[in-house]
Symmetry: C2
Subunit: 442 residues, 2 copies
């Protein structure tokens, strides 16, 4: 039998449902994997193996007919998401020694109610608001960053330490680590999953993100979180043959390195070969403004979001967060409001455009994960989609010049999350088999 830690959530769940794997044995396998790898990957901000095993034991004691749809599925939680039984530190010096909050964020309440095993807290950059990285490393090459700000969540799932983890995205904090660590990553439509209990940076952009190693796992989670599109999902698998797939270089294309450029080309070839009708789309010129609008919204909203922390302990706070509170860029309210209103005007424009295609594919990151862990990389390929509030799915499968994983993003109109997953499942199988990435992870 495959070591349990290698399984996707759906696979492990199936064994647990059939009584062929206990939650405790599953947890032990994951803990052993973490023990083997933690010295290198350092994905965890908080992990108490004994507590995990005690929780697993409780789950095993639940009568089979009373078990939830995620019974025993192990989930890592980014350390900016509140958990009632583990500390939440936001990777902030301010809160390192404060009493720990004892409350579950809304998504944690939902996951626990579904029977999930909340496993531990994964590393984050400070308040999920900066690109200063460390200590986590990329599981595929420890000299490289796992990306951020959901550094530990991306690394832990990419490294088979847990099958599912939670991140957040305000710029590119979920999708970029998905690409860098070679796993699937989903940033749902803004508002589709509650963000109560997540650290607040930008109300307009902050979104819960999810990591997994298969789209089936996201389908499982989408049922638990009750994601719902208007149009029903076809019962048949998405047919690549005949599908109308648009490739969108996006206004950030000049930042695309060789790895991303090649993945973007290769994806088109693969899809065409399988019978898809591939088109290029260029966004209307107004979309060029979104990059600056996104920066303005983050600066304006960060100004009030971080005020309390600033007053409490600004000397222990990252300078870029301090600069938000102090409005160092002298952002005017007029510019902030124009940024809100500009993005709001373009949301239905993109939705309308997206409705003409079965899928839209765009880069996830500038290139494979760069060398060094001090910086987690650039959100430039993600921030437009985040503030457009549309669903984004990172699909892995490609390789960069140094053999590191590279993913591409399937995006859709707002509240077509399930359709993005439906298309992404078929596209992902194709990219994973033909994209060229070969994992060296044992």
């Amino acid at each position: 039998m495959t070591e349990p830690y290698r399984l996707t959530a759906s696979e492990a769940l199936s064994l647990m449902q059939k009584g062929e794997l206990t939650v405790q044995d599953y947890a032990k396998s994951l803990l052993a994997r973490i023990k083997d790898r933690d010295e290198v990957v350092k994905a965890w901000a908080y992990l108490d193996p004994e507590f995990v095993l005690a929780q697993a034991k409780k789950l095993d004691e639940i009568a089979p007919e009373k078990r939830g749809p995620l019974h025993g599925v192990a989930i890592g939680v980014k350390d900016v998401i509140l958990t009632k039984d583990m500390p939440t530190r936001h990777n902030s010096g301010i809160y390192a020694d404060e009493p720990s909050p004892l409350v579950d964020a809304a998504p944690i309440i939902t996951l626990r109610a579904a029977g999930a095993l909340i496993f531990g807290k994964t590393t984050t950059t400070e308040f999920a608001a900066v690109t200063d990285g460390g200590p986590s490393t990329n599981p595929h090459d420890a000299t490289r960053t796992p990306g951020g700000s959901s550094s530990g969540s991306g690394a832990a799932v990419g490294d088979f330490q847990v099958p599912i983890s939670l991140g957040t995205q305000t710029g590119g904090s979920t999708i970029r680590p998905g690409s860098f660590n070679g796993c699937y990553a989903l940033k749902p439509t803004w508002g589709a999953i509650s963000r109560e209990g997540l650290a607040q940076y930008s109300m307009t952009c902050d979104t819960l993100g999810l990591y997994a190693r298969s789209v089936e796992d996201f389908e499982l989670l989408s049922k638990v979180f009750q994601l719902a599109d208007d149009a029903p999902i076809p019962s048949a698998p998405f047919s690549i043959k005949g599908a109308k797939v648009a490739f969108c270089k996006s206004p950030a294309w000049e930042k695309a390195g060789p790895g991303t450029q090649k993945a973007f080309e290769k994806a088109q070839e693969i899809l065409k070969k399988s019978g898809a009708i591939v088109e290029q789309i260029e966004l209307p010129e107004d979309f060029l403004k979104i990059k600056d609008w996104h920066a303005n919204v983050l600066a304006g909203e960060g100004r009030s979001s971080f005020l309390g922390h600033y007053l409490f302990g600004k000397e222990k706070m990252n300078k870029s967060i301090v600069s938000h509170v102090e409005n160092a860029t002298k952002l005017s309210r007029k510019a902030q409001l124009e940024s809100y209103d500009g993005c709001a005007r373009l949301r239905p424009v993109f939705d309308e455009l997206a409705s003409k295609y079965d899928a839209i594919i765009t880069p996830s990151a500038a290139d494979e994960a760069p060398v060094g862990i001090a910086n987690t990389g650039d959100a430039v390929f993600c921030s437009m989609w985040t503030i457009l509030q549309v669903p984004c799915l990172n699909v892995p499968g490609f390789a960069g010049d140094n053999g590191m994983p590279i993913g591409l993003t399937v995006v859709g109109a707002r509240y077509t999350d399930l359709h993005v997953l439906h298309a992404g499942k078929a596209i992902g199988k194709l990219f994973e088999s033909e994209g060229g990435f070969k994992s060296k992870l044992l």
Copy 2:
């Protein structure tokens, strides 16, 4: 000397700064007022007098040069706002016996850093999301509702039990209790104050609200929360003479009862008599749609916001919240998105309109507080402004047919909060002296 409990925050602060009043003596005066009145008003969900006095003692021990700008100012906190040293129950049967969260909401961190005395938790309707009232009563007439959902916060400030309190507004939950209890109430521009740590209902609408008995107190709080408009505030007081003041009946006018109709007329007479140039404005026809859009946004966002609580204990949950999660109205994503986009389109339209006037005045509520505490009243006059995300200040001064207080709202363009306060201070002094309300509160 006036009993300390009768003072506004600014007045009490001034005495404490001059060393003429200790925080402990101030707290004792407030606690004595509460002891006298609590049996009737029932404004508190949690209050521990000994803990309050211990906190007051700690504040008294701080050296004068180290005291904050709100040193010793007592603040009541709506029980949907997290506090690290007091339970937060959301008036929900689900969380009545759960361990209490130990974390401060962002505004509480800010207020504590400024030296405020966090006094206790005030009553709310369930998750600040329903209109089922009780047990709180209106301090001006115990047979009437104090309004909701910030029931206890409005009643406690109206009744001189604390000078300042925090509420929230998603429909009309801050402004309506302001009008019903005869106090000032401020719902700032959406996003101007962090909402991290407030119960989540609607990300688009949820806003922290503030209560006080003078606009000076809001000016004090606006400094602490670092509210900032683009245009500087004139150093001279707002001049009613020559001011261009627009009266806006709003699309809800057909719901206005005799008290609100008379207040609306009388306000115009008073302002004209003082030399203001009074105009009527009618909003473009599109604004008629906002009422339904607001309902759609709350239904759509409530669906995900309450999912966790629902899964945890739906049998203990108000039916109207259950209906959100179950999408009882069969709201489509299309209708939800059209509602977002419609409101977003009208925000700059209203801002532009507002920029033509020195102040805009509109009703706060349908009438004086109705008899009965089982229902907290109708948000119909507030919900449009909430989803337009503009600053709203309830200004008291008028009386209904039964002698109960009635206020009117000064609204402005987004991020003109300080200008709304500047105008509201002068307008409030006029309405309070000539509006006709006579308080019977001892």
